[in-house]
Symmetry: C3
Subunit: 162 residues, 3 copies
């Protein structure tokens, strides 16, 4: 059970996670928009240092769900990096009052139906980082195709305190 | 034409619909998040008593669109159950001021392009239950894969009165 | 670089674009819902005069990405038409304070992974029309099936001034 009073920064440190730079968009859009107290992210891919860490379908003949879950976690980390950039740095993440919505698409091999297991990689991570504030709604979907062949794409909406 | 002054509870009774319990999440997320006056639901599947009532693709070689529409209606019913749970019970649904957004994904056989007919099962039901307040925006999509092989997945955003 | 002070109407005229009528829904839903200061659109298809201008997959063996981008631009134009109708006419578009979110699905041939290029047709257009206010978050996805076989489907959320 996560300690509600522990800071997000402390939790990231405990997890051994360093926040990467805000991911660069692949087109004519921006990583985040803040509207009132909500921050919307663009679709995040499992990129590290500008390179996709996992491409191709998850499921029979493709990657095991466990590897998909690692990619989903990385997508969520990139979403946090984008939100932090919107809020002026990693300390800004302390202002996240609630993760509202996660939409996750898993590039799926024919017959693969465990998108929830893959996306738990992102959901568990958000809970580890934010505690109860990280408990979100989720839509888990299977995709036939994703940008650059990424195995997972994930977008997030969060509420921030003023 | 639905009577605007008729209660949601009365309409559900007229339709012969009993609200099921709030559906259990398939992963590390929650069925609903309330943020200000909005309630977001997670992706709902056509489950009854914990069992999927329809799996596999809709369209040529799969289920007819009419069966898909029944599944979409059940997804919408589960969304109402989740919203009611968020609001303390079925009477809470009287506070729904507007259904804002419905996002529906239909597991589609190759060549199937009538996702709108399938999702009308959900849209018509929401109009029957809420009247004009049930008129929503919708995104109708075809999916290559959905969790547990469900034929339909549907998420809803509603505005509630204080 | 777009001039922030130029009116939306003037920019549409410069682009040689006439706003079409609000697109008719394909089912039991409405083109837009206004909730507070946000307008949500339904999924828009590349329709002109009630006819789809592009159907079938984009990518190897299908349409080139450039044609998909034209279709995405048309989807965005239809979204603007729907938003204008919600706001009482084309002049209403001057009240758009920010394009918040674009969700785009591209009907994708096997092996096609450049959904971002396709959706740039919509994103670039929104920037041309709204300038900095048009810079949005985006989710770019590949679809296995879309309503009526449309090559692109796109939904938009915008903030409007009172």
């Amino acid at each position: 059970m996560a300690d509600k009073r522990k800071s997000v920064t402390a939790r990231l440190a405990e997890l051994g996670v360093a926040l990467p730079p805000c991911p660069a968009p692949l087109g004519a859009y921006v990583p985040t928009v803040r509207d009132g107290g909500l921050i919307y992210t663009s679709g995040m891919l499992p990129m590290a240092d500008g390179v996709l860490t996992l491409t191709g379908p998850v499921g029979p003949g493709g990657h095991p769900a466990e590897r998909g879950a690692e990619a989903a976690r990385l997508c969520a980390l990139n979403a946090l990096a984008a939100i932090a950039a919107e809020l002026g740095g990693v300390e800004g993440l302390e202002r996240v009052a609630r993760v509202i919505q996660v939409t996750g698409h898993v590039l799926s091999a024919p017959g693969f139906a465990d998108q929830p297991q893959v996306l738990n990689g992102a959901s568990d991570f958000l809970f580890q980082v934010f505690g109860e504030r990280g408990r979100h709604t989720r839509m888990a979907l299977g995709a036939a195709a994703l940008p650059r062949g990424a195995s997972v794409e994930l977008a997030v909406v969060v509420r921030v305190e003023p």
